[in-house]
């Protein structure tokens, strides 16, 4: 049994972002096989039981890793400083997750000569949606990639970014797709009666391409005036997106639902004809698998990583809102298309499991 020190940032029920969900699901399985210690900031003094050892470091940052402010950057640095001193020297492997744990990982490797694994869930190129990526974050990401003995990318799409934009040796990078807790999403039977509803569900940020969803809504309305477009989620760009939809006269077409919980999201998927993710750059795209698991067809951008493993989705360039509109209209007008995409999509989504993700991650540990 190997001892793995996992450097984390968030963990449900605290900050249930994608990174936290990944950490919880993956290490709940790996924790049965290897000796896992997860380090995270001290969000609480309560004792919560997990399927692996959790060590809360004496630091409590409040803020999400996806905010771009200076304050957040400083908090990351402070957390990493403390991590260096709190991580045990007895681990065989140190496993970093995203840039927010890289500075400590590198120092620990130098200090104890441990093997270093780096999982890249997203890069600064993705998070900035291509607009003004922060140089200092890019620099940390690249240092982490260079220092790591093995890199795990959540998709081939992300692997390409790592090898091409960061010039990293491709032999060092293993692609391991995320899983999905499919039972939550797949235990209902979808009916394919027309609902006239098109769903956007995710953070409202330039990275996720919410703007293109609104543009597509505008183009679809001409052909299907009664169609309703739902924006579920919050984010930096929400006000901008609201103004855009009002300025296009879509106040009766686009509805904003705000924050939506996981349980509510299942209902939303089931009650929509199609789910749209027009992301500018999405390393994986867990929501696509969630939507398909409910039997709801998905239209996604070609720059959404999970698309590389899916045949039963419709794919367009994120900026090609004419094509996205054509797809939306077709899914709404042609019931057989809705059914085929939904039924085959659900089957295809069932391939994604955290067990597979865990097995492949273990293979990476064993290769060291």
């Amino acid at each position: 049994m190997k001892s793995i020190g996992v450097l984390g940032w968030e963990l449900p029920p605290f900050f249930a972002g994608g990174l936290g969900i990944h950490t919880l699901n993956l290490f709940s399985i790996i924790g049965r096989i290897e000796n896992i210690t997860l380090y995270i900031p001290r969000f609480t003094n309560e004792a919560i039981r997990y399927a692996f050892r959790v060590k809360m470091v004496n630091y409590n940052p409040v803020g999400s890793p996806y905010e771009k402010n200076k304050e957040f950057y400083q908090k990351v640095m402070d957390y990493n400083e403390i991590l260096i001193n709190e991580v045990s020297k007895d681990h065989d492997i140190i496993h970093m997750h995203d840039w927010i744990t890289v500075p400590a990982g590198i120092k620990l490797k130098e200090k104890y000569g441990k093997k270093l694994v780096f999982t890249v869930h997203s890069t600064e190129y993705d998070r900035s949606g291509g607009f003004y990526p922060q140089e200092r974050v890019l620099k940390i990401e690249r240092e982490g990639m260079l220092a790591a003995d093995r890199i795990i990318a959540v998709s081939h799409y992300t692997k390409r970014i790592i090898t091409e934009k960061f010039s990293i040796d491709p032999n060092k990078v293993t692609v391991v797709h995320n899983g999905v807790k499919s039972s939550i999403f797949s235990s209902f039977t979808k009916n394919y009666e027309l609902k006239n509803k098109i769903l956007y569900f995710g953070r409202v940020t330039p990275q996720k391409g919410a703007k293109f969803f609104i543009e597509a809504a505008y183009k679809v309305r001409r052909y299907i005036p009664s169609a309703k477009f739902i924006v579920a989620g919050e984010g930096d760009q929400l006000n901008e997106i609201k103004s855009l939809s009002y300025s296009l006269g879509l106040e009766n077409t686009v509805n904003f639902y705000g924050f939506v919980s996981e349980a509510e999201s299942v209902k939303l998927y089931l009650d929509s004809d199609v789910f749209i993710l027009p992301a500018v750059s999405e390393p994986f795209g867990m929501t696509v698998i969630e939507s398909l698991s409910t039997g709801t067809p998905a239209i996604i951008s070609k720059t959404t990583g999970v698309g590389e493993a899916l045949n039963h989705v419709l794919k367009a360039d994120f900026w090609d809102t004419d094509k996205i509109a054509n797809y939306i209209i077709a899914v709404l007008k042609y019931r057989k298309l809705r059914e085929a995409l939904g039924i085959f999509g659900k089957f295809e989504a069932s391939k994604f499991s955290w067990e597979n993700t865990a097995l492949k991650t273990l293979e990476v540990y064993n290769s060291l």
């Binding site: 183009k219 052909y223 419709l314 004419d322 054509n326 077709a330 007008k333 042609y334 085959f344």
Partner: protein, 376 residues
Amino acid sequence: MKFIVMFLEAHQPRRLNNFRYQDIGTGKDYFWDEKNRDIIQRISKNSYLPTLTLLADYKVPITLSFSGILLEQLWKYEPSVPELLKEYLRNSGELAIESYYHSLSSIWNPDRFLNEIRKDMEMKQNIYNREFKTFRNTEMIYNDNIDKIVNNLNVKNILTEGTDSLIWKFNPNFIYKTPHGHNLFLRNYRLSDDISFRFSTREWNEYPLFSEKYLSWLSNSPGDVINLFMDFETFGEHQRKETGIFEFLEALITKAKDYNLKFTTVNEAAELLYPQREISIQDYISWADIPRDLSAWLGNELQRDLFEMLKALSGCIPDNIYNYLLTSDHLYYVSLGTTPDITVHTYFNPYGSPYDAYINFRNILEDLRQKYCNKN
């Protein structure tokens, strides 16, 4: 003496344009003729012209088929091919007759099917000034019912697939009889696919395939005939000239006699040999995909939806559009198949994915319905 009965099928559809829902009612062209021209010119250069030149040079008798809609397009875009075909047929070989539009009318509408065959017969007899007696249906689709329909015509020989369930009982290296007395030729798929699929496959344990080895296989395969039926484009398009496919074909032609083998057309073989037992085939068979049935065109709900809609719209859409929609390729592109078939489907799919092919075709049918069929 054993006969090599080689049959090459040349066909290209008139591909449909990329047609979005927003294009409905705008008068956009239904057909992607620029693409069709490019593909036909490319394949003519890579395959039709060099292969026909080789066959004409050696005056080697084989059976060829060019679908009606391919010949139409060749006259328009690359007339040197039908001219060269004429030259070849003056001295040797035969043409097979098929359904002019390469459609699925045989399984749907016998009258339409017969009209398509008659149209194909007339066109080929007028141009090539000979009567042709060999019939092969779209993609080798066949059963007793098709045998019965074809009995209305002056056809002597029918070609179809030697499926696993048939060759278990009937060695494909003999000629058989259909219930209506036609000569039935079954494709030897193993020996055919050795050339058309595996010739340049480095992972194949027989790679590289030299003519001596292959001819010895043919020579050792017991029976009267070796039915090598394949796509014409095998020579030069699917198997590029760099693979040595033309040298291979030339060597087969020149060395066959050393192995006591002789090339002949389907019709000549039928005249020289006595047919074996009668074969009755109930379910539809074809040469497509692993299942060798109709599933390549009608295997999923999307394909059946399009086919039903096509049928429902017959009679109101003008023939000069409608007939070209019937070509089986438009449905083939919508196959969701299974690996490894899906890779073959994707190879031929000009629209990217089966779903795109469906949406495209469905939008075009929607446009036509609104325009001509007045059933809003």
